[in-house]
């Protein structure tokens, strides 16, 4: 196993150098220098082991023991997507297949006066300085090997800019599809989203898999939230039983801005989500909601950070999970309150229902508070379904499975109701109801 571990790392490093050798001058650009530095960091860190505190409960051994064809070509067509039962909706819909932007499948409906959306590679061709000014600025202190790996291999993804004072009417939905029908595939999308002062937008990232070979997605998103801006950002993972997913999102909020995140993991072999929010302004509020339903031997890990750097801001977090069979769940929520961040309000809650004696949930709240005038609270609960409630419902004629489904649905409802893109919420309601009934 150890040899194989070295293999994927070594292979990635040699891939990088091979690609660099044919870059024809571009290798000296500032953009590439950031990638080269990231590779050096990845080389130094290596893939995390269980000894790494941040990866204590999430073993990537299985993930890195295989090889993946990165950015593989795909013959995916619109008709193939029907198999994924993706709901139709009025939105800007952008498809990435195995990490490649697909202009044929994508559809943009918002005017350019409201929002500019282009693939990262297009945006870089057009204005390298602009892209470079945002690239890796929010992630540069991230010490995670997967983030470094993504930075080093950045090729494509989305680049979005919402100008000051614009409200984007239609949501933006980024669909990342792994076409794993014929081989193990890997992709490392890199997304940069800049939302100007007093601008408002709703975004979603949706991850799906076609086929049953392995897929490995290592995605990184950087979101800049301007003063008084409002951003809603949802992430929906409904991937295959062979899908490995590492997803990292870094957010920086400025004064009086609002940010909502909803992270829903419906399916996937191994999922790790990192959501890092820096409240770098006064009077901002950040909201984080999460939901996960692992079954079988699935593994879902959510790591979140609310980093309060300025006074008078608020963060509010609610994560919920239902674990079945032999599944594993991990929640790690960090709250930092820096010395300047007086009058901070920070709340965190993680609630879980464990339906099987073989399922496990590890929760770890971590509060580091360096200011004295703050209100912080955290709480985690892990329990079984409430038998008394179950009996109450059955005594009214509701069958046990129906009562279970109602109770679990109710458990999820306060997270699902936070999702404000109607078509996504409806989709989730349907998928969750079906999942709970099974």
């Amino acid at each position: 196993m150890i040899t194989e571990t070295i293999d994927l790392k070594t292979k990635l490093i040699s891939d990088f150098h091979a690609r660099e050798a044919v870059m024809n001058g571009e290798a000296s650009s500032e953009f590439h220098q950031k990638k080269r530095a990231a590779l050096a960091q990845f080389e130094r860190l290596g893939f995390p082991s269980l000894k790494n505190e941040e990866w204590k409960y999430s073993n990537v051994k299985d993930l890195i023991s295989a090889s993946y064809q990165f950015n593989a070509a795909s013959s995916i067509a619109l008709s193939d997507l029907e198999d994924l039962k993706i709901p139709e909706q009025e939105a800007n819909i952008i498809y990435f297949i195995n990490g490649h932007y697909s202009s044929e499948l994508s559809r943009l409906i918002s005017p350019e006066s409201e929002i500019t959306i282009s693939s990262l590679s297009e945006a870089y061709k057009k204005d390298p300085a602009l892209v470079n000014s945002y690239f890796n600025e929010l992630t540069k202190e991230d010490q995670d090997a997967f983030t470094s790996l993504n930075t080093a291999f950045t090729q494509d993804g989305i680049f979005i800019n919402v100008p000051d004072n614009r409200t984007v009417t239609h949501p933006v939905i980024l669909r990342f599809v792994s076409d794993a029908r014929s081989q193990n595939v890997g992709s490392q999308p890199r997304n940069i989203i800049h939302v100007g002062r007093n601008a408002h937008v709703k975004l979603a990232e949706a991850f799906r898999t076609l086929g049953s070979e392995r897929s490995f997605t290592n995605s990184v998103t950087e979101i800049y939230v301007g003063e008084e801006a409002g951003v809603e950002y949802y992430k929906v993972q409904n991937e295959s039983e062979n899908a490995y997913h590492i997803g990292t999102t870094h957010v920086r909020m400025l004064d009086r801005s609002h940010f909502y995140a909803g992270t829903v993991t419906l399916n996937g072999r191994f999922t790790r989500n990192n959501l890092n929010i820096v409240l770098d302004g006064e009077r901002c509020d950040a909201h984080m909601y999460g939901l996960y339903f692992p079954d079988g031997t699935q593994h879902v890990d959510n790591h979140t950070v609310a980093d309060h750097r300025k006074p008078n801001s608020e963060s509010n977090e609610l994560y919920k999970g239902i674990l079945r069979d032999k599944s594993k769940g991990v929640f790690n929520g960090k709250i930092f309150v820096r010395p300047d961040a007086q009058k901070t309000n920070a709340f965190q809650s993680c609630k879980n229902i464990v339906l099987s004696p073989d399922a496990t949930m590890n929760t770890k709240p971590q509060l580091e508070i360096f200011a004295d005038d703050v209100k912080c609270s955290h709480g985690t609960t892990t329990g079984q379904i409430d038998e008394e409630a179950l009996f109450y419902m059955r005594s009214r004629g509701i069958s046990r499975p129906e009562a279970m489904a109602l109770l679990m649905y109710a458990f999820c409802a306060d997270v699902v109701s936070q999702i404000k893109i109607d078509s996504i919420r409806t989709y989730l309601e349907e998928v969750i109801a079906a999942k709970l009934a099974s």
Partner: protein, 252 residues
Amino acid sequence: MLSINDLRASVEGKEILKGINLEVKPGEVHAIMGPNGSGKSTLASVLAGREEYEVTGGSVVFDGKQLLELAPEERAAEGIFLAFQYPVEIPGVTTINFLKTAVNEIRKYRGENPLDAAQFLKMVREKAKLVSMNDSLLKRALNEGFSGGEKKRNEVFQMAVLEPKLAILDETDSGLDIDALRIVAEGVNSLRSPERATIVVTHYQRLLDYIVPDFVHVLYKGRIVKSGPKELAFELEEKGYDWIKAEVEAVS
């Protein structure tokens, strides 16, 4: 309608019911009284099918069916209703949605078509009036943040909606002030009919001022030790339970 024969039940290996015999006919109201720990609530729970109680002997026949062989939801569909002593709070499920599911699950059991939204709403409004149940409570999560009185009223409201053949009221009077008690009792009385029967489990006589029983039974140490007409309740109110205990000890 209900025929309980030498019913024995234990919880965690401890025998609580030690041979209960009781006959209930349609239209009758039976009060089960007794000191704390005598097994009153256990009897109510066993009839409704609570799983922590293990039935160790005896039989219960309800409308010709062996009740103890049925799951709680089947008992409900057959027409048994237990008004809980401590109604459960269920966040995230509205009272109205809960009841709609219950009504339609019961209809499915009986081979009837589900009620559509309009039919259901019309029926629910009528029943809500019956127990002065505020519309706003129906839209709230089931019992969540309800006062003691509101919870008990909700029990009677559910009973009105489900129209059971046999209603079992488990300490419905506990925690109620006199006004709430009267409203709840009026609701129960309005549902009385020659086809329906009621078992009122209570520690005190005061509920029986409002829901007047045909028979009063005293439960003590897991057995019915005395039965009589409604006047027995007054006697118990006046003299307490000690004389019953003394009578029982003298015999054994």
